[in-house]
Subunit: 225 residues, 2 copies
DNA sequence: TTCGGAAGTGACCGGCCGGTCACTTTCTGA
DNA sequence: TCAGAAAGTGACCGGCCGGTCACTTCCGAA
């Protein structure tokens, strides 16, 4: 009757509770951002006493935020990258590269908009800009660098194959991810502000939005004769 | 001996002090963001008692932030837009449009990087995402919409003239401004974090950066045969 | 010189929030 | 059954910070 994993019931239950706390914290961070989130609210939402949170995460709010970023946001991003552009993807021609990156952008938007909205909101709201313990600051920088690196790798391949313009891959990766980020930001702004002042990008589906971004970034804004 | 403006000395001095307070507040907001800035620090930097700040800005921190955004950031942006792409700019051909928008992006980066660094930092750090009084929230949304509108207008002209792809102008304006914002963000990240984890975009001058962005956005990433 | 109001000031208040810890409850293995 | 460990709890602490207000200082008009 034991699960295949070699965890005692105690350990399994501890893991469940840890997850429940993280779920609650993710929801609160997504709603209020790091600075606006209160540990009390997280505890209430998780249905634990505040002290219990410090049993599981001795460094408190700071640690919760960092762990969430690691386990939900960064891990999700890496998964999407690995799945959408595996190392053997054909990137030899402009057409192949275009369709591969289009798929990638679609997968990104799909992940953030439909699969893990809370992760997205946490990713967008001020995130790493907040002052945290130094060790976590470094960890954040490392995660970001790792994600950019993972995106830059296929870009470099496509550049080497002559499918993309010979631009430096890292800045291009920054721009690509920045555009996804910017699009999501506009999306939630429009959603959170129904007063109608924030004119949103009026895209229906995530795929339509992805196609728009792909067109702008890969085909360019200039008309072609 | 009187200045041409019809202000009494009293009024002029009051204006000077108001400006001094705003300068101090801008510096503090630029350094710490809205949430991290303390009114005490602003008062110390302005060399006024805290109470005096509330003489000039009865709504306190909130009002200071909003006024700064209005008078420094938004005004600066509008000025740059109006100067770089006046209403009679030639946008009839792809080449003309490209060079006009290249000039615009250069002017933007120049303004933020060299002319008003503090305005840039305030613009970047969490800005309108912060919860403020409702009337200010609406004001922010209005300013943003106005800026996007001002950028979208020449884009629409270029689209109508067939110089740009027939894409909706507002989303394109969002993307354009978002890329500038993203670039600036990467720039200051790299600067504030000399640990080297944040791999920056290694551009020398603002103009080189602007040219890179122009290439990506207008020519597109795909190689041309 | 005098007087009234405008301007300036900083000690103080109240609320918030992250983190602690002495205590209670629950579990487990002997 | 029971003792001790593990887990859970929330009242409480200390610090911070935005905003207030009774008081002082300054200044210009009469």
């Amino acid at each position: 009757m034991e699960a295949t994993v070699s965890l005692s019931r105690r350990e399994r239950e501890r893991l469940m509770r840890r997850t429940a706390i993280l779920d609650a914290a993710l929801a609160v961070f997504a709603e209020h951002g790091y600075a606006g989130a209160s540990v009390d609210e997280i505890a209430v939402r998780a249905e634990f006493g505040k002290g219990t949170l410090y049993n599981y995460f001795p460094d408190g709010k700071d640690e919760l935020f960092f762990v969430l970023f690691e386990e939900r946001v960064a891990a999700g991003l890496h998964r999407v990258i690995a799945q959408a552009i595996p190392a053997d993807t054909d990137l030899a021609t402009p057409a192949a590269a275009r369709s591969a990156f289009q798929e990638f952008i679609r997968a990104l938007l799909h992940f953030f908009l439909e699969e893990s909205r809370d992760a997205m909101l946490m990713f967008l709201k001020e995130g790493y800009r907040t002052k945290l313990r130094v060790e976590h600051e470094a960890g954040f920088a490392e995660h970001f660098a790792g994600i950019i690196e993972a995106v830059a790798r296929p870009i470099q391949r496509a550049v080497d194959a002559g499918a993309l313009r010979p631009l430096p891959a890292h800045p291009v990766a920054h721009v690509l991810m920045g555009n996804v980020r910017g699009f999501l930001m506009a999306e939630i702004d429009a959603e959170c502000d129904p007063s109608g002042h924030f004119e949103p990008a009026p895209f229906g589906t995530a795929d339509e939005a992805a196609d728009f971004l792909t067109t702008v970034l890969f085909d360019g804004l200039l008309a072609r004769s």
